[in-house]
Each structure stands twice: as C-alpha cells, then as structure tokens.
C-alpha cells in the first residue's frame, strides 16, 4: 500500500466519549445498529402485509415533486432543457459537497446540522417520489429510521463523528442509481424468466426450453456464440497486424486515423454504409460488392438474405470493421511501450521479422491483448444495433441481444425476453469473473 489514507480524527476535537475505542462501547453501538436494522425490516414487512387500498391518493409536498419537474421540463424546447437540467443537477451536487465539507466539523452547531441532514434528506427524497397515501406512513417511517440509524452509527464511529456521514454522501448517489437501475432489474429479470408472457403464472423452465428448442431461440444462441468467438479474434488479429505494419512507418498518423474513424460512427450509420455495399438489385448493380461480382461475370447475390450463416458473416464484417480501429489504437500504444533495445537485440541475434514479432512483441503486449479481447467479446455478446438496422433479425441472423428486445417489443412476451437475457448473462459471466479476478489481484498488489 503506497497510499496515504486520510481519515484520522480531527486533532482539534477532544474525544467526547471513549465508545470508539473501548470494546464495551463498541458492543453497545453494534447492538443498537442491529436493532435499528431490525426495526426497518419490520416496518418493511408491515408495509408488505398491510391491506392494499383501492386507488389510493398520492401525497406530495405541495406542487413540488420529481414528476411535476419533469413534466414542466417536457413542455420546453429541447435546447432550453439542457441548461436547466444541468443547473438543477449541479445544485444537488453542490448541496452534497457543502454537507460533506461542513457537517463533519466538531462543535454543537455542526452536530445539529448533521442530525437535521440525516433525518431530512431521506424524507425529502422519498416525498419527491409522491408516495401513495396508504404507504406514506411506512415510507416516512423507514426514511426517518434509516436517517437516525446513520446518524447514530456515524456519531459512535471509531474514526470520529462525521466520517461515516461523508462516506455515505460520497457513495450514496451512485449506489442508489446502480441499485435501482442495474442490480434490482437484473434480479427481477431473473425471476421473470420463470413466469409466462404476462409475468403472472409460474411456468418453471418452459421459457428456457423455448430458447433451446424454438428455431428463433436456437439461432439466437448459435449466432451469439459465433459472434463472441469470431468478432474479437478477427478484430484483434487485424488490429494487431495493422498496428505492427504502421509502427514507425511514414504517414503513421494518417493511416491510424483512417482505420480508427469507424469507431466514432454509430452502428446505425455503419449498418447503412454497409447495406449500401451489399446492395442487390436487378440490372445495373449499385452495391460495390455485387458490382465486383458481376464484373467477373458472376450473378449478383442478395447478401443479407443468404441462409445459413453467410448473412451472419456479412453482419460480422460490419462489426469487425468498427472494432478493428479500437483494437489497433490500444495495441499500437502498447507496442510503442515495448523497449526498442529488445527489438534491436533480437535483430542482432539474427532473427527475422516474424520471429521478432512472436517472441518479442507479443509477450510484451500480452496484458493489453487480453484487455482488448475481453472488451470486444463483451461488446459482441451484447450486440443489438447492427442486427436491428441491417436485417431486423430475419433469415436466421438474430442474436440474443436483439431477440430479447424483439420478443418484448413485438410480441409483448416478457417471459421469453427475460429467459434470453438470462442466457446472455450466463455467456457474459465467465468474462465478468475473469475480469473481476484480475482486478482484485491488481488491487491487492497496490
């Protein structure tokens, strides 16, 4: 650990109590925190088992709520909305920073400020969401309890009052967003995959059976596997070859930009660009590919409709075209980091260019290669846009990432959609584990 950790208690503050240090005080703190959590959980269960009201009213703090704010924004011109939302959001961040700065200071006034902030912030946040009248008591109760619990735990924390308060304020905004937008939905999707179309009846593994037996489902699985295997390897192979070719060549910058440019082009744009390349019609060909085919006396081919696999390969070409530049830029930078002395030494030993590449360059950039491979593999597993724009999943070109959106939008079939999503998640899982493990290792070293 080369890091300096800054969390010592304020030296100016005389320790008010010894609860931070002595074991008995810590035991009391721990007990009370556990009791607090139990109370929150109890309130939560009371809420679940309370009788649902028919068409409950909504309680809000006067006319102010997130909903009314967004509705008011929605009526304005888009360009006027930009500064307004930025200012409003900036004000929230500024308020958080002011609290972080002032609340932890020692002294009576700051003590009260902390207390008020702990109790008021959660209550305000919940009220901005306009809770229903039947739930409002529970909601406010839970908000007040969690605020009080935070305040207490913070006051008795070993690092001095205010430490925990700051930490929570720094992390809470991002944590809440992730909880609402990624963690909860992922769990909900997992459960939904065992229910039928509408999400009411439990059907066990039926949706998964559908994925692996229905032609649409099986094609999406097969194609996704093809994408995940072919796209990263070819993109990285081309990117690496190109990076080696242009290394120290004349006009390196221009050559780099030309291949890197597709990275900035949207998949929608890339899809149209390539649809034009593949264009097929009777008579004079407009698509370059068919023009070349007919030039050599062949018959024009409707590339995106040729089953099986030819059309998938055509889509893969588009993806590889966009990703090669990305691989090339990163690999090019790491090739430059390989010491020139090693190359020259290898050359003096009488090796040829090919041997130098395999025995000096590749081992030198191994870690970058792995990073690029996994990044592109994850992207190709999640691919949606290219399939949506170019074929709409027709003619057996569908992939998991596209098919699940398709099932949900066109057929309102939430069960199938969720099962496809879970299968996709399982494909990504090994990559997650690999990445997370190497990251943990890195952090242990630091």
């Amino acid at each position: 650990m080369s890091q300096v950790i800054i969390d010592e208690t304020e030296t100016s503050e005389p320790p008010q109590t010894t609860h931070g240090a002595d074991p008995k005080g810590r035991a009391i703190t721990r007990t009370l925190v556990v009791v607090g959590f139990a109370l929150i959980a109890a309130l939560f269960f009371l809420l679940i088992f309370s009788a649902p009201a028919e068409d409950p009213a909504r309680i809000a703090l006067g006319p102010v709520s997130l909903n009314t704010f967004f509705m008011w924004l929605g009526d304005l011109h888009p360009l006027i909305q930009i500064p307004i939302i930025l200012i409003a959001f900036g004000a929230v961040v500024a308020a958080i920073l002011v609290l972080i700065e002032y609340a932890p200071r020692p002294g009576r006034g700051y003590f009260i400020l902390r207390l008020v902030a702990c109790l008021a912030v959660p209550v305000l946040a919940f009220m901005m969401l306009r809770p229903y009248s039947n739930a409002v008591l529970y909601v406010v109760g839970i908000a007040l309890l969690s605020g009080a619990l935070l305040f207490f735990a913070d006051y008795r924390s070993r690092q001095g009052a205010g430490y925990l308060f700051q930490l929570i304020l720094f992390l809470a905004p991002a944590a809440i967003m992730l909880l609402i937008g990624l963690i909860y939905p992922a769990i909900a999707t997992f459960f939904k995959s065992f229910f039928d179309k509408t999400g009411t009846d439990f059907v066990g593994l039926e949706n998964y059976i559908w994925v692996f037996t229905n032609p649409v489902g099986t094609w999406s699985v097969i194609n996704t596997l093809i994408w995940a295997l072919v796209a990263p390897t070819l993109s990285v192979a081309f990117g690496l070859a190109y990076a080696v070719f242009i290394d120290r060549a004349r006009g390196e910058k221009v050559l780099k930009v030309l291949v890197f440019m597709p990275v900035a082009i949207s998949f929608v744009g890339a899809g149209i660009i390539w649809k034009f390349m593949y264009d097929y019609r009777q008579g004079e060909q407009l698509g370059l590919l068919n023009a070349i085919v007919t030039l050599f006396g062949g018959d024009p081919v409707s590339w995106l409709a040729v089953k099986p696999l030819v059309n998938t390969v055509m889509l893969l070409i588009v993806f590889i075209w966009t990703q090669t530049g990305f691989a090339m830029v990163i690999l090019s930078a790491s090739i430059k980091a390989v010491p020139v002395e090693q190359m020259e030494a290898a050359e003096l030993d009488g090796t040829n260019a090919w041997q130098r590449f395999w025995n000096v360059t590749v081992p030198g950039i191994r870690s970058s290669l792995i990073v690029v491979l996994t990044t592109i593999a994850i992207m190709s597993l999640k691919v949606y846009d290219i399939v949506a724009v170019m074929t709409g999943g027709r003619d057996d070109t569908t992939v998991l990432g596209f098919e699940m959106v398709n099932q949900q939008q066109r057929f309102q079939s939430y069960g199938h959609s969720s099962a496809l999503a879970v299968v996709l998640f399982l494909f990504v899982l090994p990559l997650i584990i690999y990445n997370a493990r190497s990251l943990s290792k890195q952090r242990e070293i630091r």
């Binding site: 300096v4 809420l47 679940i48 509705m71 924004l73 929605g74 888009p78 909305q81 930009i82 939302i85 959001f89 920073l97 972080i100 700065e101 909601v139 700051q166 930490l167 937008g181 909860y184 939905p185 999707t189 070719f245 930009v257 030309l258 291949v259 900035a264 082009i265 949207s266 929608v268 744009g269 149209i272 660009i273 390539w274 390349m277 264009d279 060909q285 407009l286 023009a291 990163i330 930078a333 790491s334 020139v340 050359e347 260019a353 870690s367 990073v371 994850i378 999640k382 949606y384 846009d385 949506a388 990432g401 959106v405 879970v422 996709l424 990504v428 990559l431 997370a436 990251l439 952090r443």
Partner: protein, 322 residues
C-alpha cells in the same frame, strides 16, 4: 574509446549531438520498418475507407443518377448537388424529421454525459481516498456491474418508470406520467446515467487514485474538508481523465440506439432512432439514406477529429500496463 576522444566528443555542440542522435535513429528506423509492411498498411487503410467514402460520394450525387449508376462512375461523370441533404432533413416518414431528431440528440447527449461523470467522480474519490471496510470488494463489485448486459435491465427499469413501485400487493410509489409530454428526455437521461456509472467510476478511480497523497494531506492539514479537497484539488487535477471519459460517453450516447428505442417517447427520438425508422421508409433510395447517415454521423466525426487525442487517452486509461 580513449580519453582524448571523449574530450573531443564533449566539445560537440548540442545541435550536433541532436543531429547525430537523429541520424542513428533514422538508421535504426530504416532497419526496423520494411517497405512491404507499409504497402500492406496502405492497402488495408484503403479498404477500410472505401465503404464510408462510397456513401459520402452518393450523398452529393443527384437522386436520379444514384438510382441508375454506381457511385464509382463519378470519376468519369462528375455531377454534384446538395438537394439530398435538404430533402433528408425535412422528410418525415415518422413522427419526427431528422432535423428535430438532431436537436433531440443534443438534448439527450449533453446531460447524459454530465450526470454520470459527476456521480462517478464522487464515488471514485471515496474509493480512492477514504478507507473503509470492504472497500476493495465493493469496488470490484461496481466494476463487475458494467458487464451486466444492458438488455437485462431494460424491461424492469421501464416498468419502474411507468408503473412505479409495488411491493407485494401494496402500491408504494407511482411512476412518472411523462408519456404525453412533447419532449420528455428524463427517462433517457436517467437510464444512460445509470448504465454509464460502473465504467465511469472505474476509469475515473484509476486516475484519481494516482494523484499524489501529499497534495491532499497538505490541504487537509490546512483545514480543508473532503468537500473542498474534492472540489478544489481532485476535480482540477482529474480534468484530463474527466475530459477523455466525457468524449467517450458523448460518442457512446450519441450513437446509442437500444436505450433510446426503449425509453424515448415518440416526440423525443434521437437521430439514430429516427434514421433507423426513416431508413425503412426510404428503402432503396440511397441518395436519401446516404445524406441522412452523414447528417447523423457529422457530430461524432467532428468530435472525433477535433478531440481525437483525448479520446485515445481515454481509451488507454488503465488499458496499457506492462
């Protein structure tokens, strides 16, 4: 080498030394690059540019010509016009024309770039400079979240936005009633911000953790709290990282189709979505397709060419170690 030689060598001027180094470098350079490699690179670059170039040429050709002859015929029969662009901007096969969608894209992209960066930099600071139990574990967990496929969270998040939260049978919070709004971007902003958070936190943390500890310690000794340290020291120092991730996120949001498909209300479609639906109605009229496509990729291309250096730096953050 004898001592006299060394003395002689030391009397060379700086310029001479520089020239000699350049010369030896040039020799080494020549030895290590082959003509064949450069030629191969030029060929690859040529193939990589052809598709874009073909559509680009088509977008300036008169409509009738594009329907009958291939774009490569411009070299023998050059005719150019700007009409395709005017037509593409105003053609409304869907509820929104491309020009409206272009403005929508701006209104979506700018806040959706700003929001996650602000939240992620707060979180990244805490992960880097506040020590707490389980810090490493939590950080790895946040990093791992970036690989939860986006598609997995779309449906539940959408129902959360529109139907609110119901626990058991008890309705707790209602959703947002934004369906009938003219230009409501709130759902798209929130969704983009959420999906960007794991990667943003990871990248910004890598940079913020590298800032020397004594700078922060000095400020703490002078009585600055975490709030001031973050705002006055960390943010200015982390600006390069923030800028490069910002460009990254800007391009990403501008080019996104999936999130917009699910969350954007009909009046608030971004340009990718509008282009995709128009593309269907335009069918084989390539003069419109091409103009529309170039209208949609003009902003990313400008950003790319103007800020390329930062963009690459962002790509390389934490990627090239060893």
């Amino acid at each position: 080498m004898t001592t006299t030689e060394a003395v002689v060598r030391d009397t060379r001027t700086k310029r001479q030394v520089a020239r000699d180094t350049r010369r030896t470098e040039a020799i080494a350079h020549k030895k290590l690059t082959s003509k064949g490699a450069t030629i191969a690179a030029v060929i690859i670059a040529f193939f990589w540019t052809i598709p874009t170039f073909g559509l680009f040429v088509t977008s300036f050709r008169p409509g009738a010509d594009t329907q009958s002859t291939g774009w490569w015929t411009v070299f023998v029969d050059p005719k150019f016009t700007l009409d395709n662009y005017f037509e593409a901007l105003t053609a409304g096969g869907t509820s929104t024309t491309l020009s409206v969608a272009f403005v929508n894209s701006l209104a979506i992209t700018i806040p959706a770039t700003f929001l996650p960066i602000a939240l992620a930099s707060l979180a990244a600071y805490a992960f880097a400079w506040i020590d707490f139990k389980g810090r490493n574990l939590l950080f790895v967990f946040v990093f791992a979240l970036q690989i939860v496929p986006l598609q997995m969270s779309l449906v539940p998040l959408l129902s959360l936005f529109s139907n609110g939260l119901t626990i058991g049978d008890v309705p707790v919070f209602p959703g947002f009633t934004l369906g009938d709004m003219e230009y409501s971007f709130a759902r798209v902003w929130i969704a983009h911000a959420i999906f960007a958070l794991p990667l943003a936190t990871f990248m910004l943390h890598n940079f913020i953790a590298e800032i020397p500890g004594d700078v922060i310690e000095a400020a703490r000794v002078d009585g600055a709290g975490h709030g001031q340290v973050f705002f006055r020291i960390i943010l200015p120092l982390a600006m390069p990282a923030i800028a490069s991730f910002g460009i990254f996120q800007f391009l990403w949001v501008w080019n996104d189709l999936l999130v917009a498909t699910i969350f954007a209300s009909p009046g608030a479609l971004p340009i990718t979505q509008a282009l995709n639906s128009l593309s269907g109605t335009w069918g084989n009229r390539w003069f419109l397709q091409s103009a529309g496509t170039f209208i949609s990729i003009i902003v990313p291309l400008i950003v790319f060419f103007a800020l390329q250096r930062f963009f690459v730096r962002g790509l390389l953050a934490g990627a090239t170690k060893g």
